[in-house]
Symmetry: C2
Subunit: 187 residues, 2 copies
DNA sequence: AAATCTATAGACCGGTCGGTCTAGTCTGTT
DNA sequence: AACAGACTAGACCGACCGGTCTATAGATTT
């Protein structure tokens, strides 16, 4: 038998990746189980509220992961221009490495479930809230005046999310760089 | 029997709205048929390639509809600031009137199917291409220099798409206005 | 009126969905 | 050794999925 807690982790990570690639309704529990090697009983033991709980926790996990990656990138950037470019590069690389399969790990699920599941919507809201806060702090660090930081963070996150989606649809990451370059010009 | 071509139209319109609200995988053909009152045989008579064709044509229809609405709004706007505000208002109103059910009619389907169905991805790409072009022309009309119009159109569309998604997740349209106000400042 | 074409009508198909249930197998405690 | 709780294992369920098929009704042509 696998070590304590190991199965839950593996199922959650597998689910997070599949939700990112295929969305909520496009991902079947049987697929998650087949890929993670767990039986159905384990899934409903660890996630008694079923698919909704699995998706909520997947979104939360992805939210934390991106937050951490964002923080790393931001800390390593000498200024805002470089920071925004690095964030764009990060997402663009993920896109290219997965043949445009892995976009934003939250967006697809968010759009699919925002109106249908309050639980998942709240998880997505929390994730985006974390990113907004991280961006706001980063902007302050880059010399953006205090009263400009919050709206600018919203603009940056919106534009990034939109560009990430356009890039998937166009199968071309150049729109990401085009957008981050213009955002950098605002600092 | 219904007049010629009337059933096809009704099915297509119903499908477009359901895809907009629930996405591709979240919308069942039986649901489309029940709501439009058409039998299954009619669906596969008018859309012999099935669900993919129905989604592609729905996206194309929504693309045209939004293009036209965009053109109207743009023509009525005295300047760029007013134009961007009007575009934001348009989407925000749709969101509020549908209790945050109807966001971008293309985005959800686009994210769900970009990697899985080349046909649908191409339809989404075409729709966004039309919007980009419409925006580029509008920006030119508002005095944006020629070489700035294309990248700025990409930024505006990206930011709008992102803001529209954030607004659904937050169940609050204010981020849309926050974003369009800042975009207007760029003109 | 016969034939033909367009479109409707819905029963039916195998497969998959999310979810439940019971049985069994570990591990740590006493 | 006996027991309890944690966890695995997968058969099984009704519902629904997208898609196919045959039959038929209405309009159009000959």
């Amino acid at each position: 038998m696998a070590p304590r807690g190991e199965t839950r982790e593996r199922v959650l990570r597998t689910a997070a990746e599949l939700f990112q690639r295929q969305g909520y309704h496009g991902t079947g529990l049987n697929q998650v189980l087949a890929r993670s090697g767990a039986p159905k009983g384990s899934l409903y033991f660890h996630f008694p509220e079923g698919k909704e709980q699995l998706a909520s926790e997947s979104v939360a996990l992805s939210g934390r992961t991106v937050s951490e990656a964002l923080a790393e990138v931001v800390l390593a950037a000498p200024d805002g221009r470089a920071g925004l470019a690095a964030i764009g590069d990060h997402f663009a690389r993920n896109l290219l490495e997965s043949d445009f399969g892995k976009g934003c790990p939250v967006a697809t699920v968010a759009l699919e479930t925002a109106a249908g599941s309050e639980t998942i919507r709240a998880a997505c809201d929390t994730a985006y809230g974390q990113w907004l806060d991280g961006l706001r702090v980063a902007l302050l660090g880059w010399g953006v005046p205090g009263e400009r930081a919050e709206p600018l963070a919203a603009l940056v996150l919106s534009a990034l999310q939109g560009a990430l989606m356009l890039a998937r649809v166009q199968r071309d990451v150049s729109v990401i760089h085009q957008v981050t370059r213009q955002l950098a010009g605002l600092l």
